[in-house]
Amino acid sequence: MRGGSISDGSAALCIVDYGAGNLRSVQKAFEQVGVAARVGSERRDVMTAPALVLPGVGAFGAAMEQLDQRGLIEPLLLRIEAGVPFLGVCLGMQLLFEASEESPGVAGLGVVRGDVRALPSTVKVPHIGWNQVEVCACSDLFDGIPDGSAFYFVHGYAVVPRSPGDVLSMTDYDGISFVSAIEHDNVAAVQFHPEKSSTLGLRLYQNFTLRAGLATRP
């Protein structure tokens, strides 16, 4: 899987940049599985890309404000509505929901029904480290990834989808259980960081590019 060649840039997937930190590791992970990935911060980047990745670290409210200031909310919603393959990562997963306890009163993208809640005070917050992902629905996103595989997490909030049908995986942490991946039509999202999750993280990104038709099955 590692060390694939990089395809022509014209059909590059777009990693949406709204000022939320270093996106190089996400871009490099896609390059590693042989798919060209551009970091884009403009409306036209979002409107032309064949697939979109929304990464991010930081606070919910600040991220929505950045997306708004850059005029990216409307194009993201248009493209998601149009059926473009979409992957949210970490904060990028949370932004898909309607609201977050982290930033009361700030509306999220609202693509997935439900909200984002703080991890309870009974556990160490933030949740940092390698934890296991129990896949509870069938999805090509987890092709070749054994159930119970570990991925790298860094977060203090977790999503609570309204529809159980949107839940793709759960993760146990010190007596609590939270949703670690979701899927809703063409939109998938993960709470963990595939770009920091070694071989299986790269496999998940590769699965997304296969779904998006940006790579062919090996």
Partner: protein, 262 residues
């Protein structure tokens, strides 16, 4: 379930990996990024780089290392060693480091911990503690021995008079997200971690403890997790010189019922 981590540590001097034995004797084991990338493929959960370069170009070499690692590694990595300021921290994080570890500078100015935690988040602030046993003092319980450890700064050269457990508690209170705890008595000896030290600190704080110093066998790794309550184990020479692979270490821990990523 949150898994226990195995973290190879690479000491870096002017861009090359070295490993001190009791902080004095040093051997060369190659290119840091190449070695770290090999550990990633072997199943390491994270990598820690401790930069021991003493020169004016130090920050540039550390930032360069962070940038190269961000290109090559697909696991989290931490950079530490001589980080002096919030500006050093900012430069390393924006070059792609996941975490930074602070040692002497945090002891001299504990405010640095809270500033970094507030600005960048606790998740990327690791406090490195070099601790050395103090001769046993009068026992608090009949027949017992009161163990104490003093922390040292400046690469283990300067005693501070500060108690290791008290300092760890204070650092966490200021916003440290993790403690990298090195036993100076054990470092380089290969006869096992200081589980007593690890246990004393891990009981006192509510953040992950990375045990360091003394790994010589795979049993040592498992012991400091089971007895010392370590959340992660750090080791250098047993992996650098191919005495054991990361995989062997993980299988050994798994066989003892310790949850690890295999």
């Amino acid at each position: 379930m949150l898994l226990k981590r195995i973290i190879p540590c690479l000491d870096v001097d002017r861009g090359r990996v070295v490993k001190g034995t009791n902080f004095v004797e040093i051997r060369d084991a190659g290119d840091p990024v190449e070695l770290a990338s090999r550990y990633d493929r072997e199943g390491a959960d994270e990598v820690v780089f401790l930069d021991i370069t003493a020169s004016h170009e130090k920050r540039e070499t550390m930032v360069g290392l962070a940038r190269r690692c961000a290109e090559e590694l697909f696991i989290p990595f931490t950079i530490g060693g001589g980080i002096r300021s919030e500006e050093d921290v900012r430069a390393l994080l924006s070059a792609g480091a996941d975490k930074v570890s602070l040692n002497s500078a945090a002891v001299k100015d504990p405010g640095l911990i809270s500033e970094c935690a507030r600005r960048f988040g606790s998740q990327c602030v690791v406090i490195a503690i070099d601790a050395k046993r103090v001769a046993s003092v009068a026992a608090p319980v009949p027949g017992g021995q009161a163990l104490r450890w003093e922390i040292y700064v400046d690469g283990g050269r300067t005693p501070t008079g500060l108690d290791a457990v008290e300092w760890a508690v204070r650092a966490v209170g200021l916003g440290a997200g993790e403690i990298l705890l090195t036993s100076m008595d054990k470092d380089g000896t290969k006869d096992g971690y200081d589980s007593e030290l690890t246990k004393s600190v891990s009981r006192a704080v509510n953040v992950p403890i990375i045990a360091s110093g003394g790994a010589g066998t795979l049993d040592h790794l498992a012991e400091v997790v089971r007895v010392g309550g370590a959340d992660a184990v750090l080791a250098a020479s047993i992996f650098h010189y191919c005495e054991y692979t990361i995989r062997q270490a993980k299988e050994h821990m798994a066989a003892q019922g310790i949850p690890v990523r295999l």
